[in-house]
């Protein structure tokens, strides 16, 4: 009994200390699903955290937990963060969605930011995501121009809407410059297994593709492409070091601007709930330098990037047919965000059956 009272006293002391600390320094905390050393998804979020530290200096203090499994563990990790005096917590994987909302209910004074999810059940939960498909359209166009065989290979992780958006957007981009362009898709059922990603890249190349793009995290496919003398696109981070003659460009996830903006809002007291789905315009989706391609292709890519950035062009603009040949978008019609965020069908021309 005595112990219990002590513990409660300790807990209240910690709780009481938290706001006091906040006045001095704002604490921003991050939960990653993988190790920061994956050089992919979690690595890029951690780069965002470092950018935040650099930008705000002494005004901010950060902490992170890596390799936190989705499920029961994430709830505990979140609660520990909330109790340790974090003012704002970024949960950087879809699987943390329900845990984020549950813990947010318990700690109304702490702000929660959940990446790639759709649930905002409490006023202190915001969501954020990036329109990676904007970059996919640009690299699709490049592929359409650069490919000699007219077939690209796509190494895909899991059939979730974000990945399906990417496949469709890539193919639409390619078909905009080469209507007969074909796409082969291999699902590896992992975000991260360098060996398997390399095998998938080899299998695709052996079947005649001469451009590889991927929605998995490691640089393995880039290295295989370099070895086989074909071209590839980097994913999540700039992978030029792994294929100086191979990488055409890379879609870089830059979370830094968002993290800085949101933590500043906490400091200023202007933070409020919102759903952010930002892309090239806001600087969340960044294209690595265009390399290893003729100047006219480079100019085309830069032109498309500029149009998407200015909002003049949306990759999902009709006419677009579904894979089965039925109409999805009429001429000039633009897909709404609701459909996009739950996308579960292919557009015409994908040489694969979408796993259902």
């Amino acid at each position: 009994m005595k112990k219990t009272i002590l513990a409660i006293a300790a807990a209240t002391a910690v709780a009481a200390m938290a706001p006091a600390m906040a006045e001095a320094k704002t604490k921003a905390c991050f939960i990653y699903v993988g190790p920061v050393g994956d050089f992919g998804w979690s690595y890029q979020h951690d780069q965002g955290r470092l950018a935040l530290e650099k930008a705000l200096g002494d005004a901010v203090e950060t902490a992170f937990l890596e390799s936190v499994p989705e499920g029961a563990d994430s709830e505990r990790a979140l609660e520990r963060f909330a109790r340790s005096g974090c003012n704002i917590i970024f949960t950087t994987s879809f699987g943390y969605m329900d845990a984020t909302n549950k813990i947010a209910a318990k700690f109304p004074d702490v702000k929660f930011e959940h990446a790639t999810g759709y649930k905002r059940e409490h006023a202190n939960v915001a969501t954020y995501d990036s329109r990676f498909y904007e970059g996919r359209y640009v690299i699709g166009q490049i592929a359409g121009k650069v490919s000699k065989t007219g077939v690209a290979g796509y190494i895909a992780s899991f059939p979730i809407p974000e990945v399906v958006q990417g496949i469709n957007s890539f193919l639409l981009g390619a078909q905009s410059v080469n209507p007969d362009f074909k796409l082969k898709v291999v699902w590896v059922n992992t975000w991260f297994d360098p060996g398997k990603e390399a095998d998938a890249a080899k299998a695709l190349i052996d079947q005649g593709v001469d451009i590889i793009t991927q929605h998995t995290d490691s640089t393995a496919a880039m290295q295989v492409a370099a070895e086989r003398g074909i071209h590839a696109f980097g994913q999540a981070s700039d992978m030029i070091a792994f294929g100086p003659q191979t990488q055409l460009t890379a879609i870089v996830d830059d979370w830094g601007p968002y993290y800085i903006e949101r933590v500043k809002a906490v400091i200023d007291g202007t933070w409020e709930q919102k759903a952010t789905w930002a892309g090239m315009k806001e600087g969340h989706v960044v294209m690595a330098p265009y390399t290893n391609m003729p100047d006219d292709v480079k100019m085309m890519a830069e032109g498309t990037q500029a149009k998407i950035t200015s909002g003049e062009f949306h990759p999902f603009t009709g006419p677009i047919m579904k894979q089965d040949g039925t109409e999805w978008l009429k001429d000039g019609e633009v897909a709404d965000d609701g459909t996009l965020s739950g996308l579960n069908f292919y557009v015409k021309g994908v040489d694969d059956t979408l796993p259902q």
Partner: protein, 306 residues
């Protein structure tokens, strides 16, 4: 390069690390020791190999360092299970846990750095032969080591005196001890050989397969290697067959997908595992054969009486 040749090459690359790690474990198990720490030793080899290669610029030095690292790590296992007679299953699991954590710590500074690839050996003219040219005469050095290793282990176990001694230790450590054989010393050597092989297999991953370092890059291959040993009922050439079969099924499912068959990819991904079970059942049905090849003292501790 024709598609058949290309596919065969891919299969060979996928099979090589499995083959090497499994061959080491086979020798360890033939001496009567079950080391479940293959995954841990392998990833220690991968990180050491990468770190040394990228610091010195020499992939060969990296490879040598990986072998030494695997061996050193296996000694930890040897000391516990052989000198202190701890439970081998638990100690092996602990070794894997330790290896996965420790390699992550060691490799922190090497993430995102391009590695040094161990170059292919290319025999002129011969490597241009159709279909088999590149496969037989133009591969990476570790591939050739893996084939030599298989032949060497097969010869050693069944045609050399030392191999006979090793097997007798694995079959009955009591009788071997009674004959004056130094059971513990032989087991130490066998465990170290297993560690060296696992280290080399790890080096293949980080210097040939995908020349880079990322945490957890072995992704369960150590466990597959363990399965292959039993799958092969402790026979070296069958380990080779098993490793290539496993490689073929895993690569085949990727090709099946790229061809656009509409089969759930999860089903295709589980094929290698289901195939292993089926072959396991087929082989083990022949009871006499299995019993003949299984090291009878496998996993049992030995403390010499004095």
């Amino acid at each position: 390069m024709g598609i058949l040749e290309a596919v065969l090459l891919t299969i060979a690359t996928a099979a090589t690390p499995l083959l090497i790690a499994a061959m080491g474990e086979l020798v360890t198990e033939r001496s009567g020791v079950l080391n479940l720490g293959v995954e841990g030793m392998m990833i220690m080899g991968a990180v050491t190999g990468f770190a040394v290669a990228s610091s010195t610029g020499s992939a060969w030095l990296g490879m040598a360092a990986a072998i030494i690292a695997g061996m050193a790590f296996s000694l930890l296992f040897g000391f516990l299970t052989l000198t202190l007679v701890t439970n081998q299953v638990a100690t092996g699991l602990a070794l894997t846990l330790l290896g996965l954590g420790f390699s992550g710590m060691l490799g922190e500074g090497f993430v995102g750095r391009p590695g040094v690839k161990l170059g292919n050996i290319d025999i002129p003219v011969l490597s241009d032969l159709p279909v088999v040219g590149k496969l037989v005469f133009g591969q990476d050095p570790i591939f050739y080591i893996s084939i030599l290793l298989t032949a060497g282990v097969a010869w050693f176990l069944f045609y050399s005196r030392a191999g006979l001694t090793l097997r007798s230790v694995g079959d009955s450590h009591r009788s071997a001890h009674a004959l004056g054989i130094k059971v513990i010393r032989i087991r130490y050597l066998a465990v170290m050989f297993g560690g060296a092989c696992s280290g080399l297999a790890g080096a293949h991953l980080s210097l040939v397969y995908v020349p880079q370092w990322v945490e957890g890059m072995t992704a369960g291959r150590g466990w597959i290697a363990l399965a292959l040993v039993v799958f092969a009922s402790w026979r070296p050439w069958r380990v080779l067959a098993g490793a290539y079969l496993f490689g073929a099924v895993s690569i085949g499912q990727l090709h099946a997908q790229a061809l656009g068959f509409g089969i759930p990819s999860q089903l295709l991904s589980s094929l290698p595992y289901l195939a292993t079970i089926v072959v396991l059942v087929l082989i083990s049905r022949n009871r006499r054969l299995t019993v003949m090849n299984t090291p009878a003292s496998l996993g049992q501790p030995f403390v010499p009486d004095r």
